[in-house]
Structures are given as C-alpha cells and as structure tokens.
Amino acid sequence: MKADSNLERVLSSGKFAVTAEIGPPMSASADPVRKKAEAMKGSADAFNLTDNQTAMSRMSSIACATILIQQGMEPVVQMTCRDRNRIAMQSDVLGASALGVRNILCLSGDHQSFGNMKEAKNVYDVDSIQELMILRKMRDEGKLWNDDELEVAPQLFLGAAANPFADPFEFRVTRLGKKVTAGADFVQTQSIYDMERFEKWMGLVRARGLHEKVHILAGVMPLKSHKIALYMKNKVSGMIVPDAIVDRMRNAKDPKEVGVRICEEQIAHLKSIEGVHGVHIMAVNWEEIVPRIVSEAGLTPR
C-alpha cells in the first residue's frame, strides 16, 4: 500500500469504487461543508474537494478535507497548477499529509478566464504531469523536487484527470500513458455522456495495457434540467453531450427524475466496460442526490 487510504484499499481489492465530488463553499464557515458531508456520508469511498473550481475563490480544498476527516469521511484533495508554484505545492502537500489527507488529485486547473477574477495572473510553474512527478518523488524517495530530504515522507495515493472528449482524440490515450508514467495511481475522467466515444477511448486504453496500470474511475454528472444539458453541450469546453440526451431532458416531465435515471443507466453501462474500476459522481450544486444514485445503482453499502 502506498498510502493505505480507503480508496486505495477498495481499488486494490478489485472492488468497484465510488468517489463523489463536493464543492467547497464561498464562505468562511465550516457549517456548509459539514452539512453537505453529512448528507453524503456513506455514499462513496472517498470525496473529492474541488480546488477553486472554474477559477473562483472558495474555501481551500485542504481546509475542507480536514473538516471531512473530522466527520469520519475520506477526502480526495484536488490540487491545481493554476494557483501555486512548486514551492507552495510541495508545502501544501506536506501540510495536507500532516492533517491526514491520503489522496491527492493533480490537475492543470481551469483557466482564470472562466472565473470571477479574470484579471488574475496564473502560475503554471509546473503542469499536472510535472505535479505528479514531484508528488511521487516526495512519496517514493522522501525528497523534495530539489533532492532535499524530508524528515517524514507523505503517504499519497495519486490521482489524475483524463478527458476522452477533448482533442486531439488520438493524443488522449498517449496523455493518459504519460500520467501513468509520471505516477498516477488512479484517474477520474471528465463527465461521460457520449458513451460511444468513451468506449472507443477505453479500447485504446486497453490496447496499450493502461487499464492494468492505473485505476480508471469513469466520471458521471447527473443533469438537473434541460438548460444545464444545453449549457454542458454548448458552453463547457472539452465536453460532448449527444442530442439524444439533450432531447430526453427537454421532453422530460420531471427533468430531475430523468436526470437521475440517465445517470443510473450510465453507471450500469460503465460497470460493464472492461478496465473501468469505479465511478466518480460530480453532482455540481446537487450533492444531496448522490446517496440516492449510488443506492439505486446498486453500489451500496460503501
């Protein structure tokens, strides 16, 4: 075991894993985090805390992770390269580890032009693959990137993102391979709506044998409304939403119910794909629906 996190144990034992995302609040109070966490407890093996998602300042993912640990839940800390250079990154990793964080997801981060402070300067001292290299060295060699010895090395289960729907498509599997080489133990994908393309991508992943080197958790995002489906299709770059899904949401009498059903159907499909070791549920601003989806998808108890 690299980190002996719950997520690592579940995945190593060959069980189908579930992770779910929690969006930190724009607040200095721990209460909203506790409330969301309480509502989701027992519905996943570990919970991702997003890191200033879409480049808006929110409570730090490490602080939220600490609150989750106090609630007896396991966090996955998301850490982007947008807001910290390698000095801050390594410092954050040591701090997070000292507070009990065992899973860290390495990300480039959304560009600040998406956010509410577009005039900010980004960092990008390193990219997400270099972040993996740095964190793996800290864990495996007990050294900072410059070779300074750490008194105690962090225990980490390292995650990365993969987007089968971004371009150039033929490079997407190469990029996953690079992340595996750099140290990714698990991967969470972008939300999947275009199952055909995801299957095609998984085929290429298997052809390279990557599914045996890294745990792939397939990303799903339940749709709340037709408007959100359209937004995902037209406004979110690196996302493909087929018309069939948009139409189903448009024609729905109860869009939320249909959104949940689509998500459950997707999970059932994803479970059947060779090399998919779990699902990652991103119910943005709708976290309370996660326990129901997990239960109805037959993935409880956790």
């Binding site: 390269c81 947008r82 390698r86 480039s108 981060g109 959304d110 560009h111 032009s113 998406f114 980004n122 990008y124 001292d125 390193v126 990219d127 997400s128 693959i129 270099q130 290299m133 740095i134 990137w145 993102a161 993969a162 987007n163 729907f165 971004a166 371009d167 150039p168 490079f171 190469t174 990029r175 391979g177 690079k178 080489t181 750099a182 972008q190 770059s237 690196g238």
Partner: protein, 233 residues
Amino acid sequence: MIIGEQKPLKEICEILEGHRRILVAGCRSCVAICLAGGEKEVGILAESLRLHSDLRGKGWEIDEVTVERQCEKEWVHDIAPRIEGKDAVLSIACGVGAQTIQAIYPKVRALPGLNTSNMGAPMEPGIFMEKCGGCGDCVIHLTGGICPIVRCAKSLLNGPCGGSQNGKCEIGKDTPCAWEEIHQSLKELGRLDLLEANIPPKDWTPSRSGGPRKIVRPESVIGEAEKLMRGER
C-alpha cells in the same frame, strides 16, 4: 519582433496632463511594422493631440520625431536637439525605447503612449500573433517548432489540457490550441514519438524568475580605457 498597441487617446491625454512642451517620439523598427508607433502613427497621434489641445485649451506644444531604433542609445542621442526645451517625451516605441529615452535624458519625463504586448509576428494584414515567451531556454525542438510557453494559455509542457476542443483553446474560440498545433506539426514531421516522453518541471531561472536578464558577450565587451579612447558617449 515586438508587438505593441497604442494606448487609447483618452488615456494618453490623462498621462500628458500637467505637461506643456511635448515631443511625440516614434520608432521605425518593430512598432512601425505592427502599425502602432512608426512615422505615420507619430504624425496622426501628434495631430490628434494638437486638436485635443486646441479644443480643450490645454496649450500643448506638440513636436514630433521618429527614431530609427529607439532601443539603441546611439540613435536616441541624435535627437538631443529635439528634446531641448521639452518637458515630456511621449514615446510610442516599445517599453525598451521609452526607457532608453528616459535613461539618456534623465531631466525630461518619458511617458508611455504605447502598450508593449509581446514578441510575435504579422499573420495577415492587420493581424499580429504572439509567438515567443522569451523563457530563455527554448524547447521548440521538442514541440514541432511551436512555443508552448506562450502559445498555450497555461504554458503546459506535456500536452493539451482537457479544455482543448476542435482545435481551439478553452479560453475562447478565437484562440487556437497550441498543443493541437504541436500535435499536427509533429505528425507532419513524423515525430509523434516526441510527445510520449514526459518533460520534467522547467528551470525558470533563465526566464523572468531569475530576475532581470543580462546577456554578456565577452568578445564584444570593451574596457574603460578603450571606451575613453573611442570617445564613448
């Protein structure tokens, strides 16, 4: 070349507030090619300022000059007679030119009339694109002759992020994804193998992170004695 863009007239007028005898100074190099600070632009700007002064009763005396290369002190020395009696030089050369004027004429205020944007190239008439990040440690032999440092919005060194779609960057449909271009270029070159290797964290010391950069070419450096002999100004 250096790409720049003139500041809006309103901002220039605000910057000029409190000055009277003003020399508008352009440059015949990069900023002339990108149609921002050459002789023609100097003429138009000077005329606009005279008009503004007449309409608003500013009492500005506007003179104009265009230097061959405003970043080289030899050329800037030559305009000493035109600087005489002025209380401000409005430079529409790049920031290097404006600073050279300030260094040579410490008693006159050098004011910026142009925003220096980037190191780029003319793409088609009237369109200029940033091309080089000036990082001090070029990597384009690994990236198909395309600079990821500045042409990728995140300066990624190991391929496109998840926001690249249909050849465009996630920041906007007008911005090509540099990594899509790199992929395309390496494919044409038959060198997609270069994309398989992980590039480790970059050493940014030759970049701005090492502080202001200075390049010394020892064979060209002349000693104090020789400077005196040559009558260096």
